[in-house]
Structures are given as structure tokens and as C-alpha cells.
């Protein structure tokens, strides 16, 4: 049984990386102090503050954002029937970032900011979808249009920042490259409260995603209305991506690498692939974030740099390995 073994392995990996994330961070604290802080949460010592105010929230943020991005990758891939689709390659994250940039310039945060991020994401995916259905694009052309859209939106964002004052720009550019350090825009409890129901919603639609991934005609013949369901899935995934962007900026390729790595292990059936990808996405992003804090200590790398390198290498390897993409 590959199913239960995979999930057991992922769960143990999750526990190990979470521990790693708590014990390793931007500052080198002795392990004994960290254990002490974990056992006595109430205190106001340095270790207690670091562990309870910084590291644990950051670990949770990385897990949630990683799970969400990987889950969105699976959703976009199934709906577009495109193994290279994910929030970053489709330009969905960039759309969300434009929304966030506008929000920052307007001094908005919280729900209005998330709403702008969602609007940006949803408009981007709608644009890509409209282009692909209008001209009946192939797998790689859809991705190309997503990448082009991404460039376009990034230029608009740069334009906005270049006409804004420099102090705002510095913070925003860093955040745009992806950071799990947390923003004032959205608190961790608010993020969890918004994201968890959405993720469970996507999990509940896993079986329908199987039918959707066979194409509109087949889905229809097996008793489903593909149009409404695709809209629902894309809407939910846009909302999830929007929340991710609002809280952590653009973090690329998590939604691409993780589902691909999970398919051979958990299978293509979305009822197993979705939960496996969500678990693995959390693990992957948390590991990347811990690495980003540790490699050049005391300097912290944007986590997007780590996932970008991993994703770029993966993307290239994929393109070289399968000249006609994984479609018969």
C-alpha cells in the first residue's frame, strides 16, 4: 500500500521540519534555551520571545502558505489540464502582488488588502483562461501567456513603486520577493481562520477534480456540470493564492514542484494527491524558509530565492526530459 506509507512518511517529515524550524532560525540560540522556552511558555526571556513570538508563528505561516500554494498548483493543473500550471507560472501570484501593491500605496491592510489581492489573482487567471479558450492554446502556450502576463504585471508593479516614496518601496520590494517573516497586513490567527476552511473546501472537491481533469466532455458524461465547478475551483484557488500573496508576497514554484514530486508517490487520484501535496508543500516551504534564514546568517535571504532556484532547476529538467509535455 503506497498510500498510507506515503502519508506516514509525510507526517513524520512534517514533525521533523517543524522542530527544525523552531530550533534553527535567524539567530543562533543554544538548543537548551529553546527546550527551556518551549517548556515554559509564559516567561519574557529572550529565548521565550524568539520561540513564541517569532519562530512558532513563522513555522505555522510557512506550513499554511506552503500547503496552500501546493494545493493551488494541483487545482490549476487539474482545471487547465496542464501539468505546468501553478499560481506563479500562470501569473496569478503576480496579479495578487499588483493588488497588494495598490493596497500598500493606498495604505490599506487586512480584509480590503486581501480583497484586492484576490481580485488581482482572479482577474489574472480569468485572463489566462480567456486567452487559452479563445485561441485553443496548447499546454506550453498557456504557460507562455502566463509568464508574459507575469512580466507585464511586474512592470506595472515596478512602475507603481518607482513613482512612490522610497521608504515604502524598500519594504515592499523585499516583501514582493517572498518572505514569511510576517506582515502587519494580516495577522497569523486571521490567516489561519481564513485559510483553513478554504483548504478543506478544496479537499472536499478532490473527487470532482478527477472528473474535471479528464476534460469537459468526459466530466459532463459522468454527470457533472464542469463550467460551474471550474469557476468555483478557480475562485477558491484565487482566494487562497491572494491570501498567500497578502501574507508572504510572491513565492514561486511551490505549486509546481510539489504536485509533480507527489504524483509518483501518492498517485494522480486527487483524493490522495491533494492532501499529500498539501502536507508536502508545507514541509517544502518550511525547509526552504529555514534554509533561507540559516545559510547567510545573520543575513536572511528571501525565501523566494530558495524556491526559485529549486523550481527553476526542476522546470528546466522537466522541459529537457519530456520534449512533448507529459501528454500522450
Amino acid at each position: 500500500m503506497r498510500g498510507p506509507a506515503t502519508f506516514l512518511a509525510l507526517a513524520s517529515l512534517l514533525a521533523v521540519t517543524a522542530a527544525l524550524g523552531v530550533f534553527l532560525g535567524g539567530s543562533a540560540l543554544p538548543a537548551r534555551d529553546i527546550v527551556d522556552a518551549l517548556l515554559h511558555p509564559g516567561g519574557d526571556g529572550m529565548a521565550q520571545t524568539v520561540v513564541w513570538q517569532l519562530r512558532i508563528p513563522r513555522v505555522l505561516r510557512a506550513l499554511v502558505v506552503g500547503s496552500s500554494l501546493a494545493g493551488c498548483g494541483v487545482v490549476f493543473q487539474a482545471v487547465l489540464r496542464n501539468p505546468l500550471a501553478e499560481p506563479y507560472t500562470l501569473g496569478v501570484s503576480a496579479g495578487g502582488a499588483l493588488g497588494a501593491a495598490i493596497a500598500i500605496m493606498a495604505g490599506l491592510s487586512g480584509i480590503p488588502m486581501v480583497a484586492l489581492c484576490f481580485a488581482g489573482c482572479f482577474l489574472s487567471i480569468s485572463a489566462v483562461l480567456a486567452m487559452s479558450t479563445f485561441r485553443d492554446f496548447s499546454t506550453s502556450t498557456i504557460i507562455l501567456s502566463g509568464v508574459v502576463l507575469s512580466f507585464l504585471l511586474s512592470s506595472v508593479i515596478m512602475f507603481i513603486f518607482s513613482v512612490a516614496s522610497s521608504r515604502e518601496v524598500h519594504a515592499s520590494v523585499l516583501w514582493l520577493m517572498g518572505s514569511l517573516g510576517g506582515t502587519d497586513a494580516l495577522s497569523l490567527p486571521a490567516l489561519l481562520a481564513a485559510m483553513l476552511p478554504l483548504l478543506f473546501g478544496l479537499l472536499a472537491l478532490a473527487r470532482d477534480m478527477n472528473l474535471i481533469s479528464l476534460g469537459d466532455e468526459k466530466a459532463h458524461l459522468l454527470g457533472l456540470s464542469p463550467g460551474a465547478l471550474k469557476l468555483l475551483l478557480l475562485g477558491l484557488a484565487s482566494l487562497v493564492t491572494g491570501l498567500c500573496v497578502a501574507v508572504a508576497g510572491i513565492i514561486g514554484f511551490v505549486g509546481l514542484i510539489v504536485p509533480h514530486a507527489m504524483r509518483p508517490m501518492a498517485g494522480a487520484d486527487h483524493q490522495r494527491l491533494m492532501p499529500a501535496a498539501m502536507l508536502a508543500g508545507g514541509v517544502f516551504l518550511l525547509l526552504s524558509d529555514t534554509l533561507a534564514q540559516v545559510v547567510l546568517r545573520p543575513y536572511e535571504l528571501p525565501v523566494g530565492v530558495i524556491t526559485g532556484i529549486a523550481g527553476g532547476v526542476f522546470f528546466l529538467a522537466y522541459l529537457l526530459r519530456s520534449s512533448p509535455p507529459e501528454v500522450i
Binding site: 473527487r207 479528464l214 468526459k218 454527470g223 507529459e326 501528454v327
Partner: protein
């Protein structure tokens, strides 16, 4: 027992009708063959019959009910449509793919039952694909792939099975085995089968009745002997032929003699 009737169907895409004034009746438990040249409207008719395309006018009735009024999930339990072999994007295993045929019988959140798995197992055994059940669909040969698609349709437990050119891309051995299997299903399970075929001899051999489409209209319909004649073949396909009758099976057999010299050249 569910049969199917088409009454004066006019259908097509945008405003352009592809088929016009087409009526026929498919008897329960029969194997009904739709034949005709490329572009004569076979696939368009098929799409109407399984609810993918709404005719401009006319009705298709399944067991007396108007197909366009049957809710999708119920329709999926009554009729299974097997499209031509097509690409499957994701590496589903054979078993995962076939199991999807049970979705119309189960709610969104209810798990598959032992019965579902039993039906899937039995169907895969019958179609001799149980030895590849854990293989990815992409790794299969054309013949196996066609059987996997058929299995997915059969586990829907339909009363009527529609197959669009099931023998395309199959070698003659697989073609005959597939059609024999359809005949067995029809005889033993009371399944009504509707197929489109290009090979007139196979159509004559395996179908209980035929309808010959020509440029969107029915040119002839009836028993194979009535439909496959020298005249109809000359008129619809523009081919000279000799049609013999198999003395044992009492089925027509066509010997093609070449193209007719038509005044207008190719139509």
C-alpha cells in the same frame, strides 16, 4: 429495457445544421450501427444523444424520456458514451480511471462501497484488463486503452451504450474481439448498443440494424441487408461494388470494385 428514438433531429454548431430531419429507432437489446462517410453527421448525432449538444429541433427519447430534460447524473446512470481514444493528461492508473465510472452513482462526499469495487473488478476481468490495473493509462496500447474506456462506461451500469468509432486505430483482431464483446453484452445483459462504424462489412456482420447517413440526412435504414446494397454504396460513397450475401449468417458482404466516374468529380 431502454431503447432510444430520435424524432426529426436537426442539429449542428452555431447556426449551421449538420444533420437535418433525422429519425430512427433503436430497439432495446439491439446493436444499432450508424454508418456514413466522414462529415455526414455521425458524431453530431452522437453528441445530441448523450446530451452534449442540444438539437435545434426534434427530440431524442431514452426509454420514453426527453434526453434534454434528464438531469445529468441520472443520464450518466442510464447511458454511457465512450468517446474515441483520446489523451489523458494525468498519470491515472487503469483502476483509478475505471472507478471514475462509478461517480454518477455516489455523492460528492460518500466513499465508494464494496459494491463499486466489485463492479470495477468484475468489469476489468471481463474486458481482460485486470492484469494492467495498476499501470498508468499512458503506458497502454491502443487496444488496451479502448477497453479501459469501455470499462469506465460499463461500470456506469448503463442501459444503453454509445460508442463513437470504437474500432478506429485498432487492428482487425482487436476490432472483431471488441464487436464480439459488444454482441455478448447485448445478448447476456440486455444492453442496448449504438455504434458508429466505418467498415461496412463489420457493420453488416455485427449490427442488428443500421442507419446510413448521407450529408446529414438518413439515406437508408433497416436490416443490414436492406441498407448495405450496391445502390446505396454507389449513391452515398460513390463506389462501385458487388454485394454478396453470406449464406451461413445471412449478412451482406461488400466487394469494392473501385470509384464511380461521377460527372461532378468528387463531392
Amino acid at each position: 429495457m431502454t431503447g432510444l428514438t430520435a424524432e426529426r433531429i436537426r442539429a449542428g454548431y452555431q447556426d449551421r445544421p449538420v444533420v437535418d430531419d433525422v429519425s430512427f429507432e433503436v430497439e432495446p437489446r439491439s446493436i444499432f450501427g450508424l454508418i456514413g462517410p466522414n462529415g455526414s453527421g455521425k458524431t453530431t448525432l452522437f453528441k445530441c444523444m448523450c446530451g452534449l449538444l442540444r438539437p435545434f429541433s426534434g427530440t431524442i427519447r431514452l426509454g420514453g424520456e426527453d434526453v434534454s430534460r434528464i438531469p445529468r447524473r441520472r443520464l450518466a446512470r442510464m447511458a454511457a458514451f465512450i468517446p474515441q481514444v483520446h489523451a489523458v493528461t494525468f498519470p491515472y492508473t487503469v483502476e483509478e480511471y475505471v472507478l471514475m465510472g462509478r461517480y454518477p452513482h455516489r455523492g460528492r462526499l460518500s466513499a465508494f462501497t464494496r459494491e463499486d469495487h466489485a463492479i470495477v473488478d468484475e468489469t476489468m476481468e471481463m474486458l481482460r484488463i485486470d492484469h494492467v490495473r495498476r499501470q498508468r493509462i499512458q503506458r497502454l496500447s491502443g487496444g488496451e486503452m479502448q477497453r479501459v474506456f469501455l470499462a469506465c462506461g460499463l461500470v456506469q451500469r448503463p442501459e444503453i451504450l454509445l460508442m463513437d468509432e470504437p474500432t478506429a486505430h485498432l487492428d482487425i483482431g482487436h476490432q472483431v474481439r471488441l464487436l464480439t464483446m459488444l454482441r455478448t453484452l447485448s445478448a447476456e445483459r440486455g444492453l442496448t448498443v449504438l455504434v458508429t462504424l466505418h467498415d461496412l462489412n463489420l457493420a453488416g456482420l455485427y449490427c442488428t440494424s443500421l442507419a446510413l447517413l448521407d450529408r446529414g440526412r438518413i439515406h437508408a435504414r433497416g436490416t443490414p441487408g436492406e441498407v448495405i446494397t450496391r445502390d446505396t454504396i454507389e449513391h452515398v460513397y460513390g463506389l462501385r461494388s458487388q454485394v454478396a450475401c453470406d449464406p451461413y449468417l445471412n449478412r451482406p458482404h461488400v466487394y469494392f470494385l473501385g470509384s464511380c466516374e461521377r460527372e461532378n468529380g468528387e463531392s
